[in-house]
């Protein structure tokens, strides 16, 4: 019984020191300057532009990875082919690779020194130090979440209803739209929430390809870092509080949309 209490104290103390206190303190630091100062910092044009960039990039990445995720899950669950385990391993890569390496890889492919980069520059398309590169980086690092959440759900629902629909004359698209999609919706929703959270929070990969041009290729996370470096602590803590609120909102959403488990 004493061991149980000791473990409980250890677990709660560890979580408090590592998680709860640090997150509480940025709220204290930000609001220590008063609500007005925080509001002024949040509606600063550069901060608002960074917020807009974050939302734009994250939305595009979520859309791309959701469509890809559903197709990829179908391939993994419903098709049988050689190299399925290789495909599975590739899907885990984005979670195991340093975000800085992800940024570097895009820089090498699309940068000014690569043949593709030169060709694109002649066409007037700019990927690196610009929004398209930041979108590619964000898609890369948030790639696996929808697939990983949809696969178990799709495996669970089986194929009977889909077969019934197609026997009754539904086209492949109708079957997907009216039978499969509604059934996998919980998995898709949870995957989207995870992808969104990862995309909004991305820093390393995006800062490598963005060139961190202030007021132009700055996302919220880059804004936190750049305002910290120029000692604009109110701006920095305010932006961090906005991001922390988004993170806490995400946690609440995952508790609502996530797989229900009783611990």
């Amino acid at each position: 019984m004493t061991a149980r209490i000791a473990f409980r104290v250890f677990a709660l103390g560890y979580l408090a020191l590592l998680l709860v206190f640090p997150v509480c303190i940025i709220f204290a630091r930000a609001f220590g300057e008063g609500l007005g100062a925080v509001w002024q910092a949040v509606i600063d044009p550069e901060a608002l532009h960074a917020l807009w960039m974050t939302l734009l990039i994250a939305s595009i990445a979520v859309a791309a990875n959701t469509v890809f995720g559903i197709i990829c899950a179908t391939v993994l669950v419903r098709h049988d082919f050689r190299g399925k385990s290789v495909l599975n391993a590739i899907l885990d890569l984005p979670l195991a690779i340093s975000p800085v390496v992800v940024g570097l890889s895009l820089l090498i492919i699309y940068g000014r020194t690569s043949p593709i980069g030169v060709w694109l520059a002649e066409m007037g398309v700019r990927i690196i130090f610009s929004t398209p590169g930041m979108i590619l980086a964000t898609i890369f690092i948030s790639l696996p979440f929808v697939v990983r959440e949809v696969v178990p759900v799709m495996r669970e629902i089986g194929t009977e209803q889909e077969q019934a629909a197609s026997t009754l004359g539904a086209s492949a698209f109708q079957t997907f739209w009216m039978v499969t999609l509604p059934a996998i919706r919980p998995g898709v929703a949870y995957g989207i929430v995870l992808t969104m959270a990862r995309a909004i929070g991305e820093f390393g990969a995006v800062s490598v390809v963005s060139g961190q041009i202030s007021g132009i290729t700055e996302t919220m996370t880059i804004y936190v870092s750049s305002s910290f470096e120029r000692f604009d602590l109110v701006g920095c803590y305010s932006a961090a509080v906005v991001l922390a609120l988004i993170a806490i909102g995400t946690l609440l959403l995952t508790n609502l949309t996530g797989p229900k488990e009783e611990y």
Binding site: A3, L15, L19, P22, D92, A172, L251
Partner: protein, 276 residues
Amino acid sequence: MSVTGNAQTATGASASKSEGSLASRGVVITYLGLLVLIPLAAVVWQSTQDGIGGFVRAVTNPQALAALRLTFLASLVVVAINVVAGTIIAWVLVRDSFRGKAIVNSIIDLPFALPTIVASLTLLALYGPKSPLGLNIAYTKASVGMALLFVTLPFVIRAVQPVLLELDRDMEEAAASLGASGFATFRRIILPTLTPAILSGAALGFARSVGEFGSVVLLTGNQPFKTQVASVYIFGQVESGETSSAAAVSVVLLVVSLALLFGLSLINRWGTHHDS
């Protein structure tokens, strides 16, 4: 309509279905190829641009070596702490009961949801120069460990929790009634079942630690030879235009990640084998 006619329709349908599945497989391979595989192959290609000698020079550069050594050592220490603390926290969340347990359970995922740069800032606010606890570890090696502990917290807990939840308690009760101590029951009965889950959580945490960037940036000061980790070193090389050298150190990290993923798939196979 003859029987053959029906058969032909059926063949037609299955042919179009397999065309559809080929198309979707094509989409998946193209997407992953363009977005993940070709860029990563480009990193490997770039790392050999100055020849094998250039690769070796880039990786054995004293500053690069110091960064790699710090990264791997810190990751090992952090994983070791996670294995112990994560298993205890998972145990408390499954076996103990107290008010607010559901809330504690849901905040475990906070490090996954919180942007890493915000994590760095929060840790700096609590354990930095203006620490309200009077505990200033910023810009020391301990701060590297602290940042990595924060971002890898959920891995072991979330791997162990479901296994612990499904664990049959009859065996434990039998062991206890035969006079085994609490510790003996844990070591002989519970731990062997948990091992694959603990290892898989540890491997994921290690992979995450080795590549971590955002959470260490503000907290550690990034001093070469002291607190600079590998990903920060790579970032610096990219910024100063040393792309090949950055790529070479990246390849070292890539190889470690691939080895871990491979090890992880072996652990998972072992885990499922263990179940059946």
